[in-house]
Symmetry: C2
Subunit: 388 residues, 2 copies
């Protein structure tokens, strides 16, 4: 039985046809006027998306590259940072900081829960000497399907002089972010999530406090050097050859984002998350994340007792066409994750639930066919009633 492919992982996310078509455009000279006009347009639109008046720097790299760029541009070896980690990607930021010789204090939160703003405030209140130079938080932790309340965390950080750095790789564009208003000093994101283009670009926005820290930073750097990127950006350029096709795609996806509108996009993700959670719960499955912390862009589901999580994922992909993500590290085999991020609509959720019902049935898990779909349908119908 030939199935169509549904990419339901929390990134890379499905690339819209309009974006695919834009990426097919013939190559242009990245030192010529048409590239410059495009790059200036993209950079201006990114500022709108980040809700910042500061420059958004574009790096040709994975999201992890921009995380490393944040570390090497803002700190010096031996300085202390506090990394609040709620999952694999928080852990990674801590690893990057340690690799560059920072003193890393990790505040680990139970997997499935969000970081507690008052715990952060309490820890910083203890730091009377201002030893902590940076606080790093993850906006949306894809490994557990949990979203942090970044606004509340930023408020909890308050007037402590540490830089407040947010990994918004899987959040920005889908989950509200107000960089300047919330007082965030540096924000990192990637191309293959809410921006709906293939992997290959990452972004770092730095405010005035961050640029001041840059001037003090004694960290060796070249490719990640923010000032080089910024100087080129002022001329509508990149210091090193950019992946032009991805930028063609980004310009188109930013146009799509503006057409749909930020508020509508955020609401769509909230709705898709509600529908997925209602669907899997109607099938008797347990959600991994605590309800109040559940992400609107990825849902982690506990593998039912007696089911081989890897086999379920494999069956979903190979027999039913739906690619889901598994658990990472200690959660491997214990959870599976359904991404509903970027170019995703009700149909994708309905197909995923219908295929999940069939896969579970074949694995001898008793589920009522159509029950998960019906629960999601109720969510969509209720939303349509509210729209009117």
């Amino acid at each position: 039985m030939q199935q169509k492919a549904y990419l339901m992982v929390p990134g890379p996310t499905p690339v819209p046809e309009r974006v695919q078509a834009a990426m097919h455009r013939p190559m242009i000279n990245h030192r010529g006027p048409s590239y410059e006009a495009m790059f200036r347009d993209i950079s201006a639109r990114l500022k709108t998306l980040f809700h910042t008046d500061h420059d958004v720097l574009t790096y040709p790299c994975a999201g992890t590259g921009a995380m490393e760029a944040a570390i090497v541009n803002l700190f010096s070896p031996g300085e202390k940072v506090l990394v609040v980690t709620i999952g694999v990607f928080g852990d990674r930021f801590a690893e990057i900081a340690a690799a560059h010789g920072l003193q890393v204090e990790v505040m680990t939160v139970k997997r499935g829960a969000a970081a507690c703003p008052s715990a952060l405030a309490a820890r910083l209140a203890e730091d009377e000497g201002g030893e902590i130079k940076g606080v790093v938080v993850t906006h949306n932790e894809t490994s557990t399907g949990v979203t942090n309340d970044v606004r509340a965390l930023a408020k909890a950080k308050g007037k402590h002089p540490a830089l407040f750095i947010v990994d918004a790789v899987s959040a920005l564009g889908a989950i509200p972010m107000r960089m300047d208003e919330w007082g965030i000093d540096a924000v990192v994101t990637g191309s293959q999530k809410a921006l709906m283009i293939p992997p290959g670009l990452a972004f770092l926005a730095m405010n005035g406090r961050a640029w001041a820290a840059y001037e003090q930073s004694a960290m060796p750097k070249y490719y990640w050097d923010a000032k080089k990127i910024k100087k080129s950006l002022d001329k509508g350029q990149n210091p090193y050859t950019p992946p032009v096709s991805l930028l063609f795609g980004l310009q188109e996806s930013l146009a799509m984002i503006e057409e749909e509108g930020e508020e509508a996009i955020v609401a769509r993700h909230v709705l898709l998350g509600q529908a997925v959670r209602a669907g899997v719960q109607a099938l008797g499955l347990q959600l991994f994340a605590e309800p109040e912390a559940a992400s609107s862009v990825v849902t982690a589901v506990c593998v039912p007792d007696g089911v081989d999580g890897k086999a379920l994922q494999k069956k979903m992909r190979d027999a039913f066409g739906v690619t889901m993500a598994g658990g990472q590290k200690e959660l491997e085999g214990k959870i599976f994750r359904i991404g509903h991020l970027g170019h995703v609509a009700p149909a994708d959720v309905l197909v995923t639930l219908a295929m999940l019902e069939m896969a579970l049935t074949e694995m001898a898990v008793k589920v009522q066919l159509g029950a998960g779909v019906a629960a999601a349908q109720q969510v969509f119908l209720a939303a349509r009633r509210e729209e009117k």
Copy 2:
């Protein structure tokens, strides 16, 4: 609520990404060697698909153009043809024949039913003088969702000297066809159906008897002149500039057809048809076609009492993203039609049923959410059990 677009009409059918990508290739000279190699390859593969040793002629036109080509190449004004019509497209073939001065006898079958082979045999048995020069049948009638048993009709025609002509526009490639084995003299099809490419190409295959009739035909013709097409084809060419991009796409779609395999494609369509019929019946809707005549590529469904058929179609398209077809001519507003032809998979059927459940609910038709989906799931799960 932004929805994704599902094109569930019986043509144009969804174009696979591979085919889209192939059509993006840069233009080539249609009189050069790479075009010639491609066109020879395509023409050879089309013969395999038609199950014929005779040439398949490619016309840049709609399917209706190839229907007209069959008439003007095979007959002379004043000759008599018997057109067996089970719907709008049978009627159209009769109109084309009449427009070119043929005497047209129409054998009309009740809408929703297939043509009866014994009725054809009986009518031809009466034609002792051999007045009837051609018998025209529709393989699959998209207007009613009915498939004729062409093999049985060809057998019923038997040794009567009339040419046996089949309109296989919405059938060929998805419903079995054995042109030479079944003794069909001419077969017409189009590009935008099972061939999975956009509209713009149509095909006419003629056997030896048809070519002999061509030599006798006194019909004026130029663009449709089969011999001009054939002479060019022998040189790997077309007489007039062909739509090169569509041929790029066709070469790719023929490769996809070969990869999946004819038997698997036919079985897939049969399964999709079963699932759609089970789904709509589980929602309490009536099928329009007689069960034994139901098409595997399009399902006609009676609009429920008290529901505005046009409003249902509009809601499905505008609110839920699924484009279905309405009824044509006297069936307008009385039926709607779900195409499941070409690049279609279980996910498309599941989405269509889920969206139909929601649309009917909003139109105050009592349906159990998930019930149509569940009936289709049962069909798919049963097929998977049989596969093993």
